[in-house]
Amino acid sequence: LYMVAACKAVPISDLLDRASQRSDRLHSLSTMLTRELDSHFPPIGRMIMPRPAMCHTSSLQTPNDKEQALQVSESDLLSLARSLLRAWVDPLLVLSSSANTLPHPAQNSISNKIQELQEHSKNLGDGLNILSGKMGPAAQTMSLLPYRGGNDLGQDKISKLINFQFLLSCFRRDSHKIDSFLKVLRCRAAKMQPEMC
């Protein structure tokens, strides 16, 4: 039985709807992970120990309030989201390998969630690649944000936890940015379906 499927392109609004569902999940996961990590990690430990000052993605100029964000063009918003997502491919590997030996009572659950983060992140990245192909050359540009933190988060127990917690806090913030940009894009694309936003 030979069938010819009428190849109907998926509308951009649908792709953005799916992408923002996945980015929503990505951020929610990072929030759950943060809470799980913090539940057995005395704040005092975080206060006294030195920690890196800035996230490796902080050089990327992103809007810092609604007025700025709503002035950014669609292609730039998508480019920001893709740049941030790609910037986390390597550090998520570091988090993943570190999670296996994390000195934390919820180590196993943390490790599983990091795996899930990686899958969601990869799938979202693939989806945004397709989207950017439909949104013109400007959406193809991406900023390089290299992670220079190395594969080792520290020798002793506390510094390993501190650096793991800091890296995760950076991911949590960046995943919120990605989610916010995609939801603004989604509402712009949904102009014909006002009930969507």
Partner: protein
């Protein structure tokens, strides 16, 4: 009378209703028997500049309101409250906040409940609007909604998650029943609002057709 330094104040809560402004509240400590003043100071991430609260009045007593110009998101605010009297000052523990994680919207508005009919069976159609301060239209804030309905005089609420919809139908009603309906909302990553005020509705008498 013995006078002393003021007691240690405590920053109790910071909330943003729409991810554009935010407010912090504090609990004063003891006043040490002397007139005591309070000041809130904050520092933004990767900056050593210390600022004082821009507005102590808009949000009422023991509060500090940050308007749109004073509010940045994805930026960490390190906030401290200082109590001072003639003998000196006492500092609260510092609190770190990022506005994106403290969003608690106002309740939904214009909640309307009407009795509709489908093939002779009545159902309630509940509709509402997002809180006017929350800009859902541009996608800056994404709200999900939850309803609860119960018969007047009963304690048990029936809960319904409505997702991002702004209208919901409720079936299986008691003939002649008087119902209360409330709606609340939550941003995708934040806190549930308070419930809207209760809307009352009476379902007409109808007979079961077996």
């Amino acid at each position: 009378t013995r006078y002393s330094l003021p007691g240690k104040p405590a920053l109790t809560r910071c909330r943003s209703p729409e991810k554009e402004t935010f407010t912090c509240w504090w609990e004063p400590g003891s006043d040490g028997g002397l007139p005591t003043t309070y000041a809130l100071y904050y520092r933004k991430e990767n900056s050593e500049t210390v600022y004082e609260c821009p507005d102590y009045h808009t949000a009422g007593k023991n509060s500090c309101f940050f308007n749109k110009n004073d509010t940045s998101i994805w930026v960490n605010y390190n906030i401290t409250v200082v109590a001072s009297n003639a003998l000196g000052s006492t500092f609260s523990d510092p609190v770190d906040i990022d506005v994106v994680y403290i969003v608690k919207p106002n309740p939904p508005e214009k909640v309307a409940v009407t009795v509709m009919e489908d093939k002779g069976w009545p159902f309630l159609r509940v509709s509402w609007e997002p809180p006017h301060k929350a800009d859902t239209r541009s996608g800056w804030i994404t709200l999900i909604y939850e309803l609860r309905v119960k018969l007047e005089g009963e304690n048990e609420w029936e809960m319904h998650l409505a997702g991002q919809q702004k209208m919901f139908n409720i079936f299986s009603l008691r003939s002649g029943g008087r119902y209360l309906v409330q709606v609340r909302c939550k941003p995708d990553h934040g806190f549930w609002s308070e419930w809207s005020s209760a809307s009352h509705i009476k379902v007409p008498d109808y007979f079961h057709r077996e």
